[in-house]
Amino acid sequence: MNSKQTAAFTEEHDIAVPYMQRLRDYYLALGYSNPYRWAQYADVPFTPLGITLDQARVALITTAAPFKEGAGDQGAGAVYNAKAKFYKTYSQSTSNPGFLGISHLGYDRKYSTAADLNSFFPLNALTAAAQQGRIKAVAARFYGTPTNRSQVTTIEQDCVDLLALLTEDEVDLAILTAN
């Protein structure tokens, strides 16, 4: 094709951002020569939804953090804040979630401010879905999972703790919001 034939196409860079390559190149440029090995599996587990959604109690799982006293700025527009990190799975009431921040995460700070909690923690939309009967209920608690660099810790500790909480709360399915 010549350039005229492709004139209606979007820009070449208008694809899903290649984060793995970006981050690899970024940390190499910073001088770190041991690139992170992203999790990668050949097989993927799958549990079909055995009930209808209007019968389902739904869990909301987040990597956002509750406010940590003395850890500095954690709100909208905060610079990256390692002090705000947490290292243990937690749960809090969905009826009063309080402050949740993502200052401890590597989100896009040029184009996002994290000012609206519901852009990364959709509790309002989920509550509305329950009120409208789309789902049976939102679980009484939401759940926070640490973003450990160690994948082994994530699987052997954090996931085990999380499953115990979900089982206790008798949830039927889980919605996970990444950041």
């Binding site: 899903a16 970024y26 999380l162 499953l163």
Partner: protein, 129 residues
């Protein structure tokens, strides 16, 4: 989050991930994934836009109802903005001056040190408890 979804699914809990790092999530391999082509930090929809957030959540519901097999991804039809230039900026070394790279190296070393200290304290407190 990908590892968590996999773990829950293997233990009988259906999951769906809302996210924006398509390559990372799909590289891992997850059961169901709603991909929003947005800057990181907006996995549940646009800020201050309940319609966007509701539409994103509805895609998650539809995935739970209809995904026929694992590794099912759906891309939200929503666009972040008329321009796609935001995609060129995130940690793109081609757009960062050498002096800035050097500065960030120093900052990153500081962040790592803080992270290690906070982590050690948190684990120490857990052990005591």
């Amino acid at each position: 989050m990908s590892l968590t979804a996999r773990y829950l699914e293997a233990h009988g809990i259906p999951t769906v991930i809302l996210g924006s790092a398509k390559d990372i999530v799909e590289h891992c391999g997850v059961p169901r994934f709603v991909f929003s082509d947005f800057p990181l930090g907006n996995s549940a929809g646009k800020p201050d836009d309940l319609d966007s957030q509701t539409a994103t959540l509805e895609l998650a519901f539809r995935m739970l109802e209809t995904a026929p097999a694992p590794r099912t991804t759906i891309q939200s039809p929503q666009r972040w903005s008329a321009s796609s230039d935001w995609k060129l900026d995130f940690q793109n070394v081609d757009r960062i001056a050498d002096a800035e790279i050097k500065k960030r190296r120093v900052e990153f070393d500081k962040i790592k040190a803080i992270g290690q200290k906070v982590r050690d304290q948190a684990l120490s407190n857990q052990t005591k408890n």
